[in-house]
Symmetry: C2
Subunit: 338 residues, 2 copies
């Protein structure tokens, strides 16, 4: 089969790879219905996270089970399934506490930008959908594999509750779906921070009530202005830079919460500032598995449509074009069809 | 009147000062029943927080109202009252959210190591006790002014719930009362980190079930060993150094919480480590006012006896001796009687 392999900065190739096989009896192999490019794929693509060797790319997936290992009991060949980028057993104490992305036996899933994918710990990782979904639902179901679950975790980690004022730092796909999540959790006012017209438009469609275009101290000042000088009850940090983290902490009212899901790159948080800011801080790799059953229901019953973040759809063999469009911010997120 | 004034490193003098007066109509002046030396007083005492000029010391207090300003409505001359080190109006949106120590109109209370003290925003800050308490309750009531409220906030910020395993970093008075708070909130297992026999003894008396004497990586390893390799559900950071903060974060299970109340000195938190640690982080100056009514009840009905942390009682004019004993760790906490 052919799949996406990163060779170095801005060098993604679609090339022959060994087809994945069952290695452990707890594995499954699935045939991809769709996959996509993640904002976090851009870190190695841009050379910010250097790679040592040619690396199969992609970790977002949904599709039909092709084969299962001998120890797999709850997942069957032919089922339509969704899973997370971290495989998890879903039984260890950490999974039971809802932190499957820190599972004691977790394994990274990789190489999803291909027609076939091996998923470890299939029973714990994969959630099957009763009937095969109609084709128009595929983008929204695929989104649950990472980007929607991550936006949802940002809002969950920021303790978003009905009636709250929420600010979202970052207008990438995760930030936009953070807006949708906050709305779904009952936020009354949602301030999206964005400078890009097409992203502002989608933010409003997802439930944003206000747009702030400024960044840094000016962005903080604008948020304060919109919140009687106090700051937002909850702030979703969906970027992962020093600037975005600082902005998030300073935009939050004392006693409020920052949920951070942007993978931190060179971020240092000053203890004294955090102390006097009086904010709650929580984040990390989203425990997508915790949210999958609820989010699948919300997609299947038409309540949410997170697939709208895919504003570019390409055949899988044009994957390099998909990376380029996201790198140049011409696309919010690229969906790939094998 | 005479009160404690800090002149420089390890130079506390008991000397003549102007007696405090009502300055604003919202002030009260109280006659101290008891006051004490705080762990945080040691930062300037040791020269780690340098001072610019001779500084009246002390911010923990309880006593009898001597005089109130013309705008004070709920506090009367003759009442026995307790307040926090931050005066607060208790009506602004931040106070209403329970963060009175970040009140929009907060003022630091200072100069409490003296027979008389001016307390701003008396209506919002002071909580009166129906009858004058018996003398043996004074130490425990005084403790509520800061040290007990701060230990309580550490446990509250760390989301301590019944049945949890809790670790406490720091065996000063705040850490010891963090142990008591965790027990009161229903923690099943409480691991106190301490190397000092007398403090270990008090920790056990307050509810500690385990003692860990190691620090740093060894301390973390021991906590992991006691918690099936996972870490504690909640960790109370009651010191404020880089080592103690790092130890607290690394001792917490994914999804667990760190409550930090040690005033951070030179602490930097690495964003990436915090991300993958998956812990909740919350702290700051304790909103003591939020907890006062509940904690006063617990003291008056004999449920808790936080005054046990005072293992040295001196007449106020020997205040310098009280600082010295705490600086040299011969005393956990010094109570001063005017």
């Amino acid at each position: 089969m052919k799949g996406a392999v990163l060779y170095g900065p801005r060098d993604v190739r679609f090339e022959e790879r060994d087809a994945p096989k069952i290695i452990k009896p707890t594995d499954a192999v699935i045939r991809m219905s769709a996959t996509c490019v993640c904002g976090s794929d851009l870190w190695p693509y841009r050379g910010i996270n250097p790679i040592d060797q040619p690396t199969p790319m992609g970790h977002e997936y949904c599709g039909i089970v092709e084969e299962v290992g001998s120890a797999v009991t709850s997942i069957r060949r032919g089922q339509f399934v969704i899973g997370s980028f971290f495989a998890s057993d879903n039984t260890c104490p950490i999974c039971q506490a809802g932190y499957q992305s820190s599972c004691q036996h977790r394994e990274l899933v990789g190489g999803a930008q291909a027609p076939l994918l091996r998923v470890p710990l299939a029973d714990g990782t994969l959630v099957a959908i009763p009937d095969s979904p109609s084709d128009d639902l595929i983008p929204s179901l695929l989104a649950l594999s990472d980007v929607m679950g991550t936006g949802w975790f940002a809002a969950d980690a920021a303790n978003v509750k009905p009636g709250m004022t929420v600010a979202v730092v970052g207008d990438g796909a995760v930030g936009l779906l953070g807006v949708l999540s906050a709305r779904q959790m009952g936020a009354e006012r949602i301030i999206a921070m964005s400078r890009h017209e097409s992203r502002q438009k989608l933010a409003r469609e997802f439930g944003a009530t206000d747009i702030v275009t400024e960044r840094g101290d000016d962005g903080v000042a604008h948020i304060k202005e919109l919140t009687n000088g106090i700051g937002a009850d909850a702030v979703l940090e969906c970027v992962g830079t020093q600037e975005s983290m600082t902005q998030a902490i300073r935009s939050t009212r004392p006693g409020g919460s920052v949920g951070f899901v942007g993978v931190p790159h060179g971020v240092e948080i000053n203890g004294e500032e955090l102390f006097y800011a009086h904010v709650h801080l929580h984040g990390g790799p989203a425990p997508v598995r915790r949210f999958l059953p609820e989010l699948i229901d919300l997609v299947l019953n038409g309540t949410i449509n997170p697939g709208k973040v895919f504003d570019l759809t390409l055949p899988l063999d044009e994957v390099a074009k998909g990376y380029r469009a996201m790198d140049e911010r011409r696309a919010i997120k690229t969906l790939l069809r094998p």
